[in-house]
Structure formats: structure tokens, C-alpha cells
Symmetry: C2
Subunit: 375 residues, 2 copies
């Protein structure tokens, strides 16, 4: 019904060349009233979910990541504008977060301080009604979740450009916690200089990866300017800070930290520069329909055993997103592999493949099956 | 119609002792579909506001703070639960922010880095679809807004507990910018210690103001424990960090910065510990129906002139929220007063009072008339 109203609105608008401002505002006021009533109704029903679970429970008792992922995917499926999928997903995350937090909000541990990308990841995944707990280390995030003082934790695991954060993966060698979700955050590149004027720039410093990411922009906007790859974006900013004719490519935040001005940005050619975070918790959750599973595999005799683990997956056409080897603790198992595969451990074909692997290879542990990140 | 649906929902729910989970989820899915269609419709109409203004404009051209304040006040007025006013205001801020950002988002300068309370204030006031520009100083926030590279700026002006931030007020002595809004952020107190165990604590350090704010909590939870007032909360944390039997009261963020554990929090007795921010811009905006006006008054002969300025306000029962004296620049005017009064400078009775003051007293400048902060 509301979907038809939207189609009608488009028609109505097309007939009005210069709409009357007061009339448009009256329309918006009417829409706001309806949205508000529906949000209240949704909150009342969400409250009922808590009751359906047997008692008036804290958010942790009826938070279901697989259900949230399904709701958000439906939002994306039926979106036909004018707002982007990303914006709508954000609005619905916030509405769900508010409905869930009516009794006792979720408590989410993350690597502080406030203002880090980790905090942004917490808000992106759990909305602003969840309560973030800034902690001093990734270890402490695992500890507080294990002890129950945080319901979930959010830890960075991969920077596109810088690769895997090994210390996070290593935590799973000893922690019994489960992976319950993943969050992806886009990271943007900016051109920074002392003066802030593009016409002053004769040299651009950055990490080789960042220079590569901004290649087209640089060719179009700074042709003939000298580009120099340095060890890190922070080092690039330190160099650019020394003279008025130099610039650096770095994150926007570096402009503040080093007292530089933003010349332009975001300037990356493709907007797929992301940091990936894992959501860790104490429980496993059922399939959402589009899931990923993280496995930790410990094996004695590397080449042969690895093949025997991968073969049952390959034979079933189970796609693998990532494989990462780590020296394992203890003498018995010489290697640990972290493997991300498509599917949920409770569903075929992954379920069958895991049963088969378990029979003969090393020690295979399911770190978690969780919904693939919704943009 | 949707408001009736909400009343119907409550009745329906009251009859169901243990609702069926699948049925409740189906209800929520139906509601989500309607909310989404209405948000899309709202975005289309908001787009029309841009057209009504004469062209397809950037957000700055049709952003109207007085209109946003009116929309949010209506949201609060018609709220009858179950979500709090604060949560609903946040959701509608985000919806408005998303609708406004369809062409070109608002650019908001603030005192960086990302993660400061200033950034939180930007998001609270403008929503997450606005683009925040972290800058290195309050001066630079004024400069970038004046130059037009930021549409608005957000600067801290008052900490309850620490008082007025003089350097922000002093900027208005020379800047022609206008105050277009105010934002209030709640700030919470936490008990921090090295061990994180309350039973270890024998001494509590904090700023006297913070100790006072947590008096009841301390009496109930740490009776007989020695309390010591120190110069700042940061100093309190530094002291508490030296031994296992000491604790400090400070912001949650300090736990990270100093590697301390959160024993408990928030622990303030009354939750009215706030920081106030001003929104600065280049233009003045019309009345919203519940406004505040900030005045800067420069006078030569302090006692007599101040009385003559206050009298026309008092005679009209115009309430004053704040008065703050500052030494003025230049020899001609010996004192500057910053005065906040109720009302809008374009509306009686404030308009008449200002006309009368202007006639005889020193130099009175309206720094801005703006909507009173919506919680």
C-alpha cells in the first residue's frame, strides 16, 4: 500500500514543475507522522519477541544476527531509490537497534579509544542504541566477552592494503569464543598538504598501495607531478609537512593529527578500500541464507594434510575466500590454517564436507558461521 | 491511520499471552515494508523542496534549522512510547539527514580528531549523512566556515562542571559568523582502577566537581573510602594508576588512554552533566517557535551601562540563561558581555528590547538567534 503511494508520489511530482514549498512540507509532515506510528508499532512487536522467548529478556537473549541480516537484505532487495542501499541499511540498523535496546542494550567491547574505526564498526553493525565499551587491547576484548561483561566484541581482522591482522587470528588459538558476524568499513584516501592549494604541489608521497589506488585521479589532476612511494602513509605525511610544494595521500584523520589541510578527497579510483572486522560472542547462531564459515585447522604434516582438507571442500564446489597459515602453539600441531569458506556449518554441503574432513585430517575447529556482511 | 494501527496493536498484543515468534516476525516484516516505502516517499518530496527553492540545489541551499527543530518537536509531542523521545529524535535526525544529502551533503567543520565529543555533536545535530571535516583548532573551524569550505561549524562553548570555553566566545569578538544552533551532549562519569575490582579500592581521586556529581553513588557503594579532590580528572587517573588500592572518577575514554579498567559506570547521581556546542554559519535563519538569542555587548562604563542593557530585557520578562563578561579587544570598549536570552531577535518582545538597547547603550551585536536544542 505504501509502495503504491510512493509510485503515485512520483507521478504527482512529475506534473508539478515548481512545487509549492508549504504544500511539500505538509506532505512531509504527514509522512513523518505515519513513519513515527509505524516505528512505535514495530517497537511494540519487538518487545513481544522478547516475551515470545519466554521472559522479558535483555537484548542479548533475543538478539539474532541471522534475523537482522535477513531483514537488511530484504531492505536492499526492495529498494528502488531515491536513497542508496547503504543509507537505507543504516536507517534500518538504527531502527532495529532502538527496538532491541528497550530493556537492556547490547554491550559491545571494542578496541578503544572512542573514535577509532573499531567504534565506527560497532555502530555500523549494532546501531547507536547498543552500548560500546572501549577497551585497551584486542586481548581484553576477548576477555570481557568471555567473562560476560560484554555481550559481543568487535575486532579488526583485515585491512585491504595491509593484509591480515595476525594477532586477532592468533587469539582463536586459545580462545573458545565464536565468530558471530563480520563488518566491513570503507576507508578513504585524501590528498593533504601544508597550504591546501593544489597548484602548489610538485611532489606526492604515499605508500605504494595508496598511490596505486589513486592512479587515475593523480593522472587526471596532477599530471607530470613527481610521485614517490614511501614506507607508510604516516611517513608520507611527515615528509609532505616539511615543504609547501609537497603533498601526501593518507586518511582524512591524518590531516588533524599532523596539522595538514585537505586538498581533495576521497580520491581513490575504486571505492573498495575496506577494513574487515569480526564480531565475537559466546554462542553460535543458525543460518541466515547467505553465510560464511571461518575454520581453524591444525595439521602435523603440512603438504599432504592440507590437500586432504581442501579436497572435500573443492569436490563440493564450496568456495574459499581466504586461507592463511600461522605457526601453531604446542609441538603436536606444527601449523594452523585459518580458512574462510562459503556456507553455514549446520547446512549441506559444508556440513558434509566438515564431517568428512574431521574423520582423518588434523584438528578442525569451526570458529563460527555468520551472515556475510550487509553493505 | 497508522496511529490507530498502533492502538490496535497494543490491544491485539494484550490478548496474546505467549505470542508466536513467526507471527510476530511477519508483523514486523510488514511494518518494515511500510516504513521503507514511506522513507522513499519522504526522500522524493525532500528532493522537491530543493526544486521549490528554484533549482536542484546543494543541501546548504535548502537546509533550514528552524524547520528541522519544528519537525523534531512534533516528533516529541506526539510520542507516546514505547521508545524514548531521545531515541526517536535520533532516528528522525537520521532520516532528515539522509533526505537532505541526496544531492550534496552538508559539510560540517569541527575540532578534530575524529572521535572527539565535537564529532559526536556533529552527528547528533546533523545526522550521519552530513560530512564531518575534522580541523586542528577552533580558529580553523571559524576560518573554514567563513571561507565557505565548510557549510557550518560545531564548536564547544560550555562544559557543565568546567564552565565556559572562553576561547570560543572570544572568536566572536572578531568573526562575523552567526550562531545558527546549539547541541547538548551528555557526558558520563566512570569509576576506573588498575585492577577493575571494587573490593580493592581504598581511595578515590577526582576533580571536586566530579566527586560532588557522584556523591550518592559513592556513599552507597564505597562508604568509608577516602575521597580526595585533585586538579583535574586526568590528574586523578594518573594518581590512581600508581597503586592497586586507588580509583579515579573520569570519562570512559580515560580508561583507554591510561590503560585502566572500568569498575562501574555511569555513576553520576543526576544525568544532567552536559557539554554545550554552538553551530556556526554564515546566514541567519527565521524563528522556529522556541528560540534562543546570543548577544555580544561591548560597553565603556561597566556598572551603569550593564544595568541599562538588562533593564529593557527585564521589563519585558525576557529570561536570561547566561551572562559572561570578557575583557574586550581595543581601548574604546573596556568590557564585552556575552548574554543568552530567550526568544528570536526578529520577534517581539526581544526585537523591541533590542531596538531600545541599541539607542543608548554600547555596541550590541546579535551573534545569532537559533532553535533551543532538541534533546
Amino acid at each position: 500500500m505504501a509502495a503504491q503511494a510512493s509510485a503515485r508520489t512520483r507521478g504527482e511530482m512529475a506534473r508539478q514543475a515548481t512545487p509549492d514549498l508549504a504544500a511539500v512540507r505538509a506532505q512531509i509532515d504527514g509522512i513523518d507522522r505515519q513513519i513515527q506510528a509505524l516505528i512505535a508499532e514495530r517497537a511494540l512487536w519487538a518487545h513481544q519477541v522478547g516475551k515470545a522467548k519466554g521472559k522479558l529478556a535483555a537484548a542479548i537473549d533475543y538478539y539474532r544476527p541471522e534475523r537482522e541480516a535477513q531483514v537488511l537484505r530484504r531492505v536492499v532487495d526492495r529498494n528502488d531509490g531515491p536513497l542508496s542501499d547503504e543509507v537505507l541499511v543504516r536507517l534500518f540498523r538504527e531502527i532495529m537497534s532502538a527496538c532491541l535496546a528497550q530493556q537492556e542494550p547490547l554491550k559491545i567491547g571494542y578496541l578503544g579509544p572512542e573514535g577509532t574505526f573499531s567504534q565506527q564498526a560497532v555502530h555500523k553493525h549494532f546501531g547507536h542504541s547498543a552500548k560500546g565499551l572501549p577497551l585497551v587491547s584486542i586481548e581484553e576484548v576477548f576477555d570481557e566477552v568471555a567473562a560476560g561483561s560484554a555481550d559481543f566484541g568487535v575486532v579488526p581482522v583485515e585491512n585491504s592494503g595491509q593484509g591480515t591482522i595476525q594477532s586477532t587470528l592468533d587469539m582463536f588459538l586459545t580462545s573458545p569464543l565464536k565468530i558471530c558476524g563480520e563488518v566491513e568499513l570503507r576507508v578513504h584516501q585524501y590528498l593533504l598538504s601544508r597550504t591546501g592549494h593544489i597548484e602548489d604541489i610538485e611532489r606526492v608521497y604515499s605508500h605504494g598501495m595508496s598511490l596505486a589506488q589513486c592512479k587515475n585521479w593523480l593522472r587526471q589532476n596532477l599530471p607530470g607531478v613527481h610521485k614517490e612511494a614511501v614506507s607508510s602513509n604516516a611517513e608520507a605525511v611527515r615528509r609532505a609537512k616539511k615543504s609547501d610544494d609537497a603533498a601526501a595521500i593518507a586518511g582524512e584523520n591524518a590531516a588533524h593529527v599532523y596539522g595538514m589541510k585537505v586538498v581533495a578527497g576521497p580520491i581513490e579510483d575504486r571505492n573498495d578500500n575496506t577494513t574487515r572486522f569480526l564480531v565475537i560472542g559466546r554462542a553460535s547462531f543458525p543460518p541466515s541464507g547467505n553465510d560464511r564459515t571461518s575454520l581453524m585447522v591444525s595439521i602435523r604434516d603440512q603438504p599432504g594434510a592440507l590437500y586432504r582438507i581442501l579436497e572435500p571442500l573443492a569436490r563440493r564446489d564450496i568456495s574459499m575466500n581466504r586461507i592463511e597459515s600461522r605457526p601453531a602453539h604446542g609441538a603436536l600441531w606444527q601449523y594452523a590454517f585459518f580458512i574462510d569458506v562459503a556456507g553455514h556449518a549446520d547446512e549441506s554441503p559444508l556440513k558434509d564436507a566438515l564431517a568428512e574432513i574431521d574423520d582423518f585430517a588434523g584438528d578442525v575447529r569451526v570458529l563460527g558461521s555468520y551472515p556475510v556482511a550487509v553493505p
